[in-house]
Symmetry: C2
């Protein structure tokens, strides 16, 4: 037996008991006459003591020990002289009678503490040491707890957890697939799923009624900070439901998780049309923890001889409360910030609202005090506020103003980590025009149903068709999205046609689904939550990397196991493949 108790278990009631612990040496304090060892495991830390009564052999054994050694320690529980009320085991200590090294340790490349001295690359290379840090492990415990709460809730609602295949078929729509060469089917490939979309729809056609799965999905994209080539979804589908049924069910799930995991009661989620989100927040994933809404001031800003605004399709403004004190330097920095390529604005106009009701702006040459008063009224500005104005192409300006709003929210500390504001964004456009290849793309995916009242527009003005699609947004993060699905093979065929598929292409790629619709398909709808993002939101983290046990870096590499890697020529030959490496890469 390696241990009688864990390192988090012993209490004052255990005094006098002879016990065995096992764990990692967190630290050793040698005070001359006495030495203390903090022994750590997942469950806590217990203090081991060596003093003048301890056998000499043990005292000398201590000299061999170092940080992160794995040891087995035997001894008697006794009351501490100076108790530590901050730790659960802080009232007791162990008078050591035996100690055995189970696994020695070299000096770790970084300290195993909440605030480590290890940089990102080093921590990833030695991820197994990084995971020893409480803060990192706790993220993964949180993740497990959240997965459990998802299952508990959905099981209670009669959802059947069903595994769908990982080796599926490559489809041209959407992001790039990872592919897997088949040895048994020469020259052919499987693909890894970007989502189990068609399988969950087939499960509805199969009469499963309610399906869910917490499932790995894959996307071969150039990675950004918050993307991983493999990621986890809470994937769900329901039959005989309308949009509001899905939203109710998954609002219920989300509230349940907040309550069970964080003990937070969140309010009912408002529904916001996509168009409103764009107009008021400049984003389809508005952060509603703070106001500072976007205002269209075109009417009052145009026609006064300021060419920039006069030429612009749209002039918009936000009002930052109590920011008239912003210095010239701060305003210049904001201007530089919006001019960065990520935002791409041409410039920034400001209006300071003075205490006496007068205004000071960067465009005083063109606008009278009376003009600026109209602006202030349009944005609801009070004395001491700062109005920030941008103009240009409407869509781009809304988006840039939305980014500026978030930046101001950051600067004014309005985006509090412990405040959660979920909402549903609804009524997304069905299609979006893609300039690059001159055709419509599905905004959500090609199985999304148009709103019945908009179906006629598919022929006349496809860009205007709204979809029965919805996103769950929390604190400016898109947590999930879904839609009511098409369940009729003719409408599905029309949809593929609008997306530029020939009937043959549609048949080759999705024939099995369109065929399935012909054998009695129920109305159905679904949703998928990005589980990694939801966990990182709950954990109060900026990226998803720290809530994944073994993440990959921005080049898609696992630097710990050094993957991807070469494979042998025999493997390539068996797969009937040849590397075709170009020279100038």
């Amino acid at each position: 037996m390696y241990r009688t108790h864990t390192c988090g278990e012993l209490r004052i009631e255990n005094i006098g008991h002879e016990i065995i612990l096992a764990g990692w040496v967190q630290r050793i304090r040698d005070l001359g006459a006495m030495s203390f060892i903090d022994l750590r495991d997942r469950y806590g830390i217990t203090q081991l003591v060596v003093d003048e009564n301890t056998d000499e052999s043990i005292v000398s054994k201590l000299k061999e020990l170092g940080r992160e050694f794995v040891v087995q320690a035997k001894g008697v529980v006794r009351e501490r002289l100076s108790k530590n009320k901050n730790m659960p085991t802080g009232e007791i200590e162990i008078a050591l009678s035996e100690i055995k090294i189970l696994g020695p340790s070299k000096l770790p490349p970084f300290t195993i503490q909440d605030d480590t001295d290890g940089g990102d690359e080093l921590r990833m290379k030695y991820r197994y040491l990084d995971l020893r840090r409480n803060v990192v492990r706790e993220n993964l415990v949180l993740r497990a707890k959240m997965a459990h709460s998802v299952r508990t809730y959905l099981n209670s609602k009669d959802f059947i957890e069903t595994e769908t295949p990982v080796l599926i078929k490559s489809t041209p729509e959407g992001a790039r697939d990872f592919v897997v060469p088949s040895r048994m089917n020469t020259g052919e490939f499987y693909a890894l799923p970007q989502s189990p979309q068609v399988f969950k729809q087939l499960l509805m056609i199969a009469g499963f009624d309610r399906y869910y799965q917490i499932v790995k999905c894959f996307r071969d994209e150039d990675l950004r900070a918050d993307r991983q080539p493999e990621f986890t979804q809470i994937d769900c589908e329901m039959s005989f439901v309308e949009q509001k049924d899905v939203l109710e069910t998954f609002e219920g799930l989300t509230k349940y998780m907040f309550k069970k995991v964080l003990n937070i009661e969140v309010e009912d989620f408002p529904w916001m049309p996509y168009s409103e989100a764009m107009e008021k927040y400049g984003s389809d994933k508005p952060d509603t923890r703070f106001e500072m809404l976007l205002n269209d001031i075109s009417e009052v800003a145009k026609g006064k001889g300021f060419g920039v605004f006069d030429k612009a399709e749209y002039v918009g403004a936000i009002c930052a409360d109590e920011c008239s004190c912003y210095t010239r330097k701060q305003l210049d920095q904001l201007t530089d910030w919006v001019k960065r390529p990520q935002i791409g604005a041409k410039g920034l106009v400001y209006v300071k609202c003075n205490e006496d009701g007068s205004f000071k702006s960067s465009v005083d040459k063109f606008y009278s005090q009376e003009d600026l008063k109209q602006w202030a009224e349009a944005v609801g500005a009070k004395p001491h506020d700062l109005i920030l104005v941008m103009s240009g192409d409407k869509e781009k300006t809304l988006s840039a103003l939305g980014e500026l709003r978030l930046e101001m929210g950051n600067q004014l500390k309005l985006r509090k980590k412990n405040v959660f504001k979920p909402l549903w964004v609804v009524d997304f456009p069905l299609l979006e025009w893609n300039e690059e290849n001159n055709r419509f793309h599905a905004m959500h995916h090609p199985f999304t149903s148009p709103k019945p009242e908009d179906i006629a527009l598919l022929e006349t003005d496809p860009g205007k068709v709204r979809a029965n699609a919805y996103d769950l947004v929390i604190n400016g993060v898109e947590i999930g999205g879904g839609s009511v699905r098409i369940f009729n093979s003719e409408l599905q065929a029309k949809m593929f046609d609008k997306l530029g598929f020939t009937p043959e292409q549609a048949q080759a790629q999705f024939g099995f689904l369109m065929n399935a619709f012909k054998y009695g398909a129920p109305p159905h709808a679904g949703i998928a939550f990005g589980f990694d993002r939801l966990v990182s939101l709950f954990a109060g983290l900026e990226t998803i990397r720290d809530i994944i046990a073994f993440p990959k870096n921005n080049s898609g590499r696992d630097v710990m196991i050094d993957s991807p890697s070469d494979i042998s020529n025999e493997q390539l030959e068996e797969l009937n493949l040849k590397l075709d490496l170009k020279e100038n890469k």
Copy 2:
């Protein structure tokens, strides 16, 4: 709203209520004055009625309907005249007031009933229709229920469910890997995991203490009836434990599942050494639902002038109770059966034990009644029993006799589906000699720890070293296996050396693990259950295919979605790959 109730919900208490149902038309009975429709969903079947009081428009609407149409039906619940006590909704029916076709259906290619007329290929091609059959869906509901019980149990024991990566690194040991070309890392490949083995060991080194995961694994093998290229494991690992701790924990899990899911109490699992399993059952996965043990009768069978036995390394026998009545034809069939290439025996000797205490054998020429009496005593045969004897190389003969034992068990109906006999097979050899490439292979895997008392044998007689490895066997099926792991980098290096790895190869493949051992590794051990097999055992099925929602066929194809398939030249180019198809395939 598509429905107010499901098709399994309405009872006598609902009489008089106006309700809406939605579901599939199971069948329509047109009795002239009246018509009945059985409306089906996942939850049950409800009878809809049209009679002389029904609106004419509905009566004519019925003519459009056929099997598997999806309809929405409105009506009033009323008491049935002739009740059907066999169905939960059998006391009521719905007087139809409105019916709407939601999804029409072509005639399905096979009947959607428990006993369908669809063949295997057809059912797989239209899997979404096959899954509508109650018997198939119930297998998947069972699967979900079992997964839930696994999680409930392991969560209660402080195991942390942790996801490990799917895109990992190819290793030469074990079965063939599926590989995934990396676009971002030119010329390099990920591999799909055959198991999360090294990651779960790293989680132990990371101090997770107890890990589990229900996880997809992948093996690119030529498929047999009971194999799939992707399969699901219950994968577990524990720290600071010995073999018995692991066996206790997972015996607990197994008993919990039997109780929760099947309401069966199983007895404590016996431990059987590998050597005993081979000697007594001719198999490392003995079916202990029946006795009919193998007996070594070399001592009494050799030296009587029967050359076949005299030359044999081993002569073994089983005793089939009450089978002396087997006819010549039956015995010839058994002889043919053991001569099949799958068994590969040269022949079969029988001894019938007559009622009067005399014997009749196929080798009467060589053996006296007294000799045969010795055989009968050696195998514990009574009058009316049949002794079956085989001889030759010991290992092969044990195995052939083991197969014959199972066949006799089948013939005598001793392998009852509703009886469950779990046991632990322990003390496996660490290594097995591979004739083909003339080196030792790891019997379990290269991370398995030898028994400490056998470590010295590694140098002198590696084939004799026993491992701290164990299998859970139920009814002759290997449900799971695991081992105590090596947690010391020198012993691990020695193990790789015995397996024929050069130090460089070991370092390249598993350097990260051996390095991890140097930073304080705890003793650890684990196990993995084949979840698909466990579910099919619980479901009383022979193959795993029917407990997988979308399985692949024996060529690794999904015939429904037609995968694997070609990919585009653009995709190949982006991956820097060329097909290298040989002509004569």
